[in-house]
Symmetry: C2
Subunit: 343 residues, 2 copies
């Protein structure tokens, strides 16, 4: 591989000038620039990231912490992040960290070792509730950090207002005339690792209370955010003699599971059962699912943009200062899975 010395020799300049030309930092005469560029091109020179990082303190690499890869929301957010980073010529370092309970040692190693190797210039934490010690460790990194899925995170964050999201979904069902509305949310056992689900549940209950239809007992069913889990939870709800006329599921995947469960029981959606989800899942249209879209791709892009802005790149989006909690847009998308109750 050609080094900067090769290019310098080839172009008859010092390595300092090559560096200035290629990085765009510092003045270079036009004629010189041309020569350097030509030389670099001829030799197929690409700067060595470790040498550059060591000398400059910048890695052009951003870390991303995700809890899973196999849920649509995460893959979508991650896609948004990498796309934006790639466009800015930054690389992505992917860290999949397990839940606290699953493999504590592995999780600890990420915070104590991996992230501390000065391999990254910034960090995006996707939908993971860090504990106090982890937050301190992340802060001690001294790099820009943004969490997706706050805002009760102690870190700067970007998130939809999950209480408002849940209120919106619930209000939609209430406006249609539903009273017996059930909610499928996350099992409490996972609450330590994720804070979003409990906020959605809170919003649901608040909206119901506001409408003076307090949630009846047994109208919350825990699930694991999968289609299958959503289906199981829906089966439990629909087996009740006083089954609800509507279900608000905290994710589209669970909502789709609920649709399938209803069909399996011979119930028509939406005539016999209305269902709303949250996310804006790509399968939403296929299942004709009413949902609150939260544009996860854009969340990823915004998070990346915020980090890049903090690092001095790109037009700093004035709306996403890293010292506060950015609110992301969401939107009710009414499709065919909701209507007025028939009884």
């Amino acid at each position: 591989m050609a080094t900067i010395d090769d290019v310098a020799r080839h172009a008859n300049v010092s390595t300092a000038t090559v560096s200035r030309t290629l990085s765009g930092r510092g003045p270079v005469a036009d004629a010189t620039r041309e020569r350097v560029l030509a030389a670099a091109d001829a030799l197929g020179y690409v700067v060595s990231s470790s040498a550059s990082s060591l000398a400059s303190g910048r890695t052009r690499n951003i870390g991303v912490l995700v809890p899973h890869l196999d849920q649509w929301f995460f893959s979508e957010v991650l896609t948004g992040i990498t796309a934006s980073l790639q466009a800015a010529d930054y690389d992505t370092a992917l860290y999949v960290i397990s839940a606290h309970a699953a493999d504590p040692a592995a999780r600890r190693r990420v915070f104590e070792q991996s992230l501390r190797r000065q391999r990254i210039d910034g960090l995006v934490v996707v939908s993971i509730a860090l504990d106090a010690r982890e937050i301190a460790q992340v802060r001690a990194l001294g790099i820009p950090v943004i969490a997706i899925g706050g805002p009760d995170s102690a870190l700067p964050s970007l998130s939809v207002d999950n209480v408002a999201v849940a209120r919106m979904a619930t209000a939609h069902l209430l406006a249609l005339g539903h009273r017996d509305i059930a909610h499928i949310g996350l099992s409490p056992q996972f609450e330590g690792d994720f804070h979003i689900p409990s906020r959605r549940r809170k919003g649901f209950e608040a909206q119901m209370a506001d409408a003076e239809y307090p949630v009846g007992p047994g109208l919350f069913e825990p699930a694991d955010y999968t289609m299958e889990g959503g289906a199981r939870a829906a089966h439990r709800l629909l087996a009740r003699t006083d089954r609800p006329t509507a279900i608000f599921a905290a994710s589209d995947e669970m909502a789709i599971g609920a649709i399938l469960a209803a069909r399996e029981r011979g119930l028509r959606v939406p005539e016999d059962l209305s269902i709303v989800g949250v996310d804006g899942h790509e399968l939403g249209e296929f299942f004709s699912l009413t949902t609150v879209d939260q544009f996860p791709l854009r969340q990823g892009q915004r998070a990346a943009a915020a980090i890049l802005a903090e690092l001095g790149h790109a037009p700093a989006p004035a709306t996403t200062p890293l010292d506060t909690h950015g609110e992301m847009p969401f939107e009710l998308v009414v499709r065919g899975s909701t209507t007025s109750p028939s009884r």
Copy 2:
């Protein structure tokens, strides 16, 4: 951040000794080791990756090239890769590269710039058909490379035998007595970027030919590997007056789409229509889908292990030498979506 000098001073040794102790390369007296470890621990020292990489030529970072993140197979493979890498204390550099047609410039930049910055020690290419130039560029990197999804790749690869996979699925349907079997595969427009689908189609046709039931015209329907696409393709097939009694879909997601399409049309699965997929999708059980499981998680783990072995780590799995094409296991999982034809 503490540097190696701090540790050396603290432990009263040279930086060389600290380096040897922490890297495990070279002899260190037990007493010395203890002191160094204690000092490193006390100072919270973690080696700087760029300094270490520059000096050693090793990055402890592996690149992964994927075409998408939003398909179950890819997220599963990627999960397997990162898990294995993390366990070996390696980081993952994620590169999502678009199809040739989508954004040629972005794709080119990955091969010409990103991958050439000496940021990675090895590379895993997941299910992407590289063109001749890209293969040359990847080879020129001079690092271990393995492709998942060969074996017609010009790179060392790891893959199930996709012809055999398709034969197995088809043979299962034939053995049940089906003759009118349709296949849902990939639209030819994507063939340049992926080679697996055409091999599955080939296997299907070969098996049918062997059984002397050559595939009828119109019994191939192209789709895009999504549930929705699978459903649309199935609708086209099932609208025919001489509709097939069985469908072999080249992926579980498409197969699930086909199941849903059949249900929508009032057809019972499997009584009126048998369906087989490929993958081993997590939703397979939920939909009671018969499939050929190809254990994508394991494929990812194996690919990572192969790279690590090449880099001198871990028990080199004798079965996956990087100079050849590793065959991965697959297995027919019979569930409730297949049975004998009723007519």
